[in-house]
Assembly symmetry: C2
Homo-oligomer: 139 residues x 2
């Protein structure tokens, strides 16, 4: 679990520490589902809350993960798939929150559609969150 994690950390110019390896591994284990700070806290009890906050911030800055602001006011984080790099995110996909299982996932293949805004509005970034029942829960 730590091998690939440490290489990713190195190749993104981050110090390789146990905390970062553990947190990054959690994201790889989850793949699609997004993680809340509290999820990580529960699974890695040895880590301090503040360390987790700071690690999530660093990972975000480096383009490894991206934040997803949920309707419940809780921020989740998910792995970036594509071409995100330090300071430049390109996560223009839709997010889906399942009201049954509570999981949030990236629909990487579903692009956010274009929107026509009245002039005088400068768009910098668009977020699209769909609430409903996910593929696993709808049966």
């Amino acid at each position: 679990m730590s091998e690939s994690a440490s290489e990713i950390l190195k190749s993104n110019n981050m110090s390789v520490t146990a905390s970062r390896q553990q947190i990054l591994s959690l994201f790889f284990d989850k793949d699609r589902g997004a993680l809340r700070h509290s999820d990580i806290e529960k699974q890695l009890e040895n880590l301090d809350r503040v360390t987790i906050y700071r690690t999530l911030q660093v990972f975000t800055d480096k383009g490894l993960i991206h934040p997803i602001s949920g309707s419940d006011g809780v921020t989740r984080y998910a792995l970036c798939k594509g071409n995100c790099s330090e300071g430049h995110h390109h996560d223009n996909h839709v997010h889906f929150y399942c009201q049954k299982c509570g999981e949030t996932q990236c629909l990487n293949e579903v692009q956010i559609p274009k929107v026509d805004l009245p002039g005088m509005f400068a768009v910098r970034n668009i977020e699209m969150l769909i609430n409903g029942i996910c593929q696993h829960c709808s049966n």
Copy 2:
């Protein structure tokens, strides 16, 4: 300020109280811009925090206002324009957050575009938040 507010409260089967009239009037004064709980707290210092939370909840339940979850994790509320009623919201418009002035507004005339989801996803509600520079700040 209290006259129309009290009538709206009555016609929505709510007890008419000073708190509710004051809070509702704030929304009418603001019109487009959304209000955070903290905004209301600052402007109506006589009211208890909890009362404001509960009033926002009731107004939301009754279809008077709708919550907007911001990228900053703070929930804002704005007046419902159309055909929202008790338990049934129809606020399918885009929200805009200005990164300069910090205001969030409803773009009531901009509908949320349709999205094609892979089968097995049941869509119940879609939120679209655009971050950028608003019409007042872009010059």
